[in-house]
């Protein structure tokens, strides 16, 4: 089932897209782990950026093996949009973190619980 039987070609980044997908999956898991375990809001945001980067790796990797259709480079365009949205998200989120820090004198996400029911 696993392509070990077909030889080691799947391990070569120059012949197959699988190594890139593996890197993307690993980066996604590390980012999710960062988001889940960190208390500091800035560190949580770093994890979010890692997750977005892993999605981008997949977009660009699939664009490479896609049969070129009507719209060329769609994967690249999606990656560019994700980068732009990540920039907007980082700006707003860090402004919120600064605001929270000014009001609560902490930037730990489990300290700012004013709106918790």
């Amino acid at each position: 089932m696993i392509h070990l039987a077909l030889g080691m070609d799947w391990l070569l980044a120059s012949r197959s897209v699988q190594p890139f997908l593996l890197v993307g999956a690993t980066l996604f898991c590390l980012g999710l782990f960062t988001v889940l375990t960190r208390k500091n809001a800035v560190a949580v945001l770093m994890g979010v950026e890692m997750i977005l980067n892993s999605a981008n790796i997949n977009f660009v990797a699939f664009e490479r093996v896609r049969a070129s259709g009507v719209h060329p480079l769609t994967g690249h365009v999606f990656a560019i949009f994700v980068i732009i949205l990540a920039a907007a998200e980082a700006a707003v989120a860090l402004a919120i973190v600064l605001s929270i820090y000014r009001n609560f004198h902490t930037s730990d996400v489990d300290q700012a619980t004013l709106m918790k029911g």
């Binding site: 999956a25 898991c29 930037s107």
Partner: protein, 197 residues
């Protein structure tokens, strides 16, 4: 692709993978928030290298410009502004990790199994020309509406960020009054009667 070219390509891939995953693991486990930020630099750089290896030259350049040059600087500013510069240590406390690690490990094994068990299309030959021209044409024709919408969204997000990050409005008015006095401007009528300085 000649043999030695392929060797160099795969070597570059593993170097970039090491940078990406190593930096990400350091971000995930480091106790020091400033060091996490610098490890994030390695991750972003490695991802840019992976884009370059995937023949996405423009996306790689954007990754370097926006992520490394913009977002990472923003992160370092946020780290420095929310903590006293002197206590950069131990600002990155983490909650209990064992359950999260187990869950994420299961997810990772599942993802790796899916990736290895699926038959992906073979990568085509290398030799694509520069992508900038095609991308520019696409952004001005096919993707024009999303392009404009996302520019509007970026504008709104930046205005919102500037609004959120500034101090309260009352604190802004006071220095304005004193600045007027310093400049020798005429005080409004009844200024002192209201008890202002």
């Amino acid at each position: 692709m000649h043999g030695w070219q392929e060797l160099v390509y795969n070597l570059a891939f593993w170097v970039m993978t090491l940078l990406t995953v190593g930096g990400a693991a350091f971000v995930a486990w480091s106790k020091n928030l400033v060091r996490s930020g610098f490890a994030l630099l390695l991750t972003f750089f490695g991802v840019a290298g992976l884009y370059a290896l995937l023949e996405a030259d423009f996306v790689a350049a954007l990754q370097l410009l926006i992520y490394v040059g913009g977002i990472l600087v923003l992160f370092m500013f946020a780290v420095m502004l929310t903590h006293k510069i002197s206590d950069v240590n131990l600002s990155n406390e983490s909650s209990p990790q064992r359950g999260a690690f187990a869950a994420i490990y299961v997810l990772w094994v599942f993802l790796v199994y899916v990736i290895l068990a699926t038959r992906w299309p073979d990568a085509p030959q290398f030799g694509r020309t520069a992508t900038v021209e095609e991308l520019g044409r696409g952004l001005m024709t096919t993707w024009l509406l999303p392009f404009e919408v996302v520019s509007l969204l970026l504008l709104v997000a930046l205005i919102g960020a500037a609004y959120l990050a500034r101090p309260l409005a009352i604190k802004i008015i006071e220095p304005l009054g004193s600045a007027n006095q310093q400049a020798g401007l005429a005080k409004p009528a009844g200024w002192s009667a209201r008890g202002a300085k």
